[in-house]
Symmetry: C2
Amino acid sequence: MDSRRSSKSLNERRSLRTRISSNPAPYITRKIGTFDILDEESLSLIERSADRILSEVGIEVRNDPVSLKIFKDSGAYVQGERVRFETGFCRSVINNSAPSEFLQCARNPARTVKFGGNSIVFSPAYGAPFVSALDIERRYARMSDFNDIIKLAHMSPYFHHSGGTVCEPTDIDVSNRHLDMVRSHILYSDKPFMGSVTSEQRARDTLTMTEIVFGKDFISENCCTMGLININSPLVLDGTMLGALRAYSSANQCCVVTPFVIGAAAGPMSPAGTLAQALAEVLAGVTLTQLVRPGSPVIFGYLSTGLNMKSGAPVRYDETWKCFLAAGQLARRLNIPFRCGSSTTSAKLPDYQAGLETALNFKSALMAGTHFFIHASGSTEGGLCFDFDKLILDSDMLGMAERFVKGFNVDVDTLCFEDIKDVGPGGNFFTSKHTLKNYRDGYFLPEVLDSQTFEQWAESGSKNSAELAMLKRKDLLNKYEPPAIELAMKDELNDFVERSRKV
Amino acid sequence: MDSRRSSKSLNERRSLRTRISSNPAPYITRKIGTFDILDEESLSLIERSADRILSEVGIEVRNDPVSLKIFKDSGAYVQGERVRFETGFCRSVINNSAPSEFLQCARNPARTVKFGGNSIVFSPAYGAPFVSALDIERRYARMSDFNDIIKLAHMSPYFHHSGGTVCEPTDIDVSNRHLDMVRSHILYSDKPFMGSVTSEQRARDTLTMTEIVFGKDFISENCCTMGLININSPLVLDGTMLGALRAYSSANQCCVVTPFVIGAAAGPMSPAGTLAQALAEVLAGVTLTQLVRPGSPVIFGYLSTGLNMKSGAPVRYDETWKCFLAAGQLARRLNIPFRCGSSTTSAKLPDYQAGLETALNFKSALMAGTHFFIHASGSTEGGLCFDFDKLILDSDMLGMAERFVKGFNVDVDTLCFEDIKDVGPGGNFFTSKHTLKNYRDGYFLPEVLDSQTFEQWAESGSKNSAELAMLKRKDLLNKYEPPAIELAMKDELNDFVERSRKV
């Protein structure tokens, strides 16, 4: 252990973490309901079909004898790599121990977020190998891009979470990439973050770095990082992902277990079939987290797309919206937090299509009762590219969404009867009592979206929204200041990264 | 009466109208629910506040002694131009006679639409004095633009209605404009249309032209056109609009009674106050239609915006979404069809902002249970401009929406259990039984939105969505063919237009 890390500094760190902040809540508390697209009977049919899939077809656990043994020891029926479950077994394991809500601690305790219940958490896009912007011709992403995204997400009031692999920094060797990424989250932001999942060892490195920040004892009792565990639909859980799953769950850290079903390819073409298969996949993956460590935090993840039957490209249209809504219902019935797709688009640029598809998908996720939005902003090309201008533009939508899900009060004050009476027919409310009292925050004030008249807009250079976003981004990055961090913690982190780096 | 119009041709026209079509339904039948943002108590509070506004503040009827007399004769309390109503009076008048749903006939009977119940009807934008497109620098709209919009809406499978003043043809004198607009609807489309509301006489001219198409007897019994009656919020109903209202209602044609409340200006800043005031305004306007002719078709219209408190510009963000949802609930409680804002944006171009705002607003209107979408496509600058490319791009969203509101079935067939079993873990569904049976229409196929890979897209010229829309528009206009119309009807219409034209 690094000699500079005294027990005193650890205590100081802990006291910092528990200090109550005077800042606004670091995540959104939803006050409006969800949109339930399916009735009770339809939901039960999907659940029963998922149970049949788990008992009659089963899932395949590839290249992971450890997970196979865990499943076998729990009573599951294991034949080679195929695992089948008795009807109701997975649901019962999950119901017995998976938490319905939990906190993920941030190194700045004022930024600790809650998953589940009425909470909503936004984070930037995940996993794009490419980046683009008005002033960046589309190219492979670099570590400097990764850092910029973390900085921008740190500065934004609309991101509650720093995300994970916000882009793939392809200029760093894959065996070391996770070290630089996790360090970037810790140094350039003080919001909660996700770690690496590309191997069990890389997940363990993430956990070690998280321990450096939070202290070993603290993280054994508290969720301080998480891993995004994808399932290889249909019905395959591979050893790489499961190694990471076991690392996170055994350390009491969160797994976001997420099938990604491309309809008519990796799953049936119908929403009902897609949902039944995905539910079976989630049930198996989440069950493993609870068998590894009962009570460990876990999130019901869900992604599905349709397919353009002419081009063979995945598309996110009405079928995707419907599936998000129904998957949200299935997650609530399982009583664990929910994550699904969100601000995604097939567009290659932040053009009209990109805005349209982003909003349609995002709003579906919002109505679905999603707790964790991993792709809340920045994603183009169906996730293959991270567009910096889109990151900024989507943020305004997140700001509106925050206000939207808070609903509105109807009472004597808000009904404004006296104002309406005082103003009378044909009058105006510019200086009515309610307006004067509320004008500062009565309406959302976007940072980039333009509401000027055509003439004002033309005078200020006829800029389209990507141009306005580029200016805003440059301004933000110029103003960026890293959040405070203890020197000892920073040194220890850097030591670990350099020591672990493979050459 | 024109001598060429024989009773035989009239009968022929009628038989044409009642012929059963083999085409798909000419409007959407919604199968999913609505999103109810307010609880019973909040809705009652808004309704009671609207009642207090009507009884204690009242509405002002400007420059219209005829309407004042109608109100007075009905028992309302009239002082000068101020009209007050006893608590519950308006609601009682409306409940007694306003239809909860009705048909609007199209000259092609296969295109007759239903308003109310589970129906949804889309039409293009309304009222823009300007037009723009990638190849049209923003300028005042012309009659040729108007015709092009009607043609494009006629060709689109996603518009059920031809709209009304889809743009303002400023090259035609205001005193004659309505004649050319109504004729354009009738000649270039066979979908239902709206008429003129800029004066009582122009509304009457609309009715005469509608009679030429449908026959006098037929239109006295059936809704064949409609007028968009705006209220001058706060609480003013002016004589011009009321003249048109009386013309349409007395002819048993539909009025869409629509307050347009700009919060903190034409109404209170809070959603609750905005809704209470707008409800009072709708109640007064709709009551007048029922006093003029009990049972005449009428629609509960609703538009509201927030205000950018820095620039003073109207904005349509979270407050607008909330108000759409709550207004839909108020309309359902009043049991008459509902119309609210939809695909609107403050953007000056079809850029990212335009797509984002359009989709966010549209989807709110969709979840609100809106029956009639007047601005379903094409609108920019908050309604001041009609963008041709946006018309095309929005259409794809309408296609997705149509599929979305139909929901999905969960049954043995759609759960695809046998397919999932046959394919097994790690397989693919490209040729599974369900896919082969459903691949043609299992997923929505957009006309413009691009889902190619980056490489395919780059090879085909790296076109943004506005460029793709422009190509599609030009292709459509090249292919346009006017719907069949009887020569006698066309001649009679042209005669009327020329005879009525003021020089």
